[in-house]
Symmetry: C2
DNA sequence: CTAAGTGCAAATAATTTGCAACATG
DNA sequence: CATGTTGCAAATTATTTGCACTTAG
């Protein structure tokens, strides 16, 4: 139940918990299943509305909350931007570039060592896919050549 | 210039950049220097207003932005909560408990190994103090004894 | 004096909530 | 047909911005 989710798996999970499978939930489930990447509530809303324009943002938030309690999706905070959601499955971490705001997923094992140390030294049990790590991506590094017009990446450095 | 900041250091830095040292900036500098921990813009506003009630939140945000461009403060995103700020100095990472929402600072070396791997494998240069790592703190772990009344930590699990 | 800085009110963005109308099982 | 759900509008929270007025240097 932590591999790939189909719309039917989701429906089964919802009903098992006493919930009802509605058009909104079906639409959201389809969007999530059709996309491999993380999506913000707003992006999910827009895609769902492509098919059913009447579905409101508040419904999307409520359904996402329900799916999360059922263990169907998880959310993560990517720095400055909005919260993103994705189906549970291959656990992964997130890195966000503070210059171009691009986020990418990285294998969860990268966190292994830090996880162990945090647990031993602080008793803190890390959740690898919940919050993103910030930094500069490969293409944004080295862009700042000393002496260059500075360019001033005027975006509040995320 | 990355050790401990005094109000005068800050004033010098502001003036060197062509800025003016005002009552608001002085008040904010004092609050930051008096507190070792991370503070949200709202907490800073409240503390500054204890002395000068007329100082507005928007000014706090603007001053914090200026201080950040001058390298006096850095901000970090602690998961669900508001952005927090602190004076630059001892670099550290942040961990936030998803159950009790408490955040703590952890030594930056914990990130060393991950930093190296991210750089080698993805060309990504990590910024250790920008975004928090989520998980369960020592006191919240083990609280969920199987069979217990579940208690339902009803807060949207951060 | 003069440009930097400020207070205040209004504008955004991301969510959340109240409630009456609906639909699923 | 009972109750889980939804759409919509209004409320919140965190932040940003426009502007006329104030003040540091």
């Amino acid at each position: 139940m932590d591999g790939t989710w189909s719309r039917d798996d989701i429906a089964a999970s919802v009903r098992r918990a006493g919930g009802r499978m509605t058009a909104a939930k079906r639409g959201i489930a389809d969007v999530l299943a059709a996309t491999g990447t993380d999506l913000s509530a707003d992006e999910i809303t827009q895609r769902v509305q492509a098919a059913r324009p009447e579905i409101s943002p508040s419904t999307v938030y409520r359904v996402l909350d329900e799916f999360e309690e059922l263990g169907i999706v998880v959310h993560a905070h990517l720095g400055h931007g909005a919260t993103v959601y994705h189906l549970t499955g291959v656990p992964h971490g997130h890195v966000v570039c503070t210059a171009c705001a691009t986020s990418s997923e990285v294998p969860a094992e990268l966190f292994d060592r830090m996880e162990g140390e945090l647990l031993e030294r602080f008793g803190f049990a890390l959740d690898r896919h919940h919050v993103a790590i910030a930094g500069l991506c490969a293409s944004c590094r080295g862009v700042r050549e000393p002496g260059a017009p500075a360019d001033r990446a005027r975006q509040r450095a995320h």
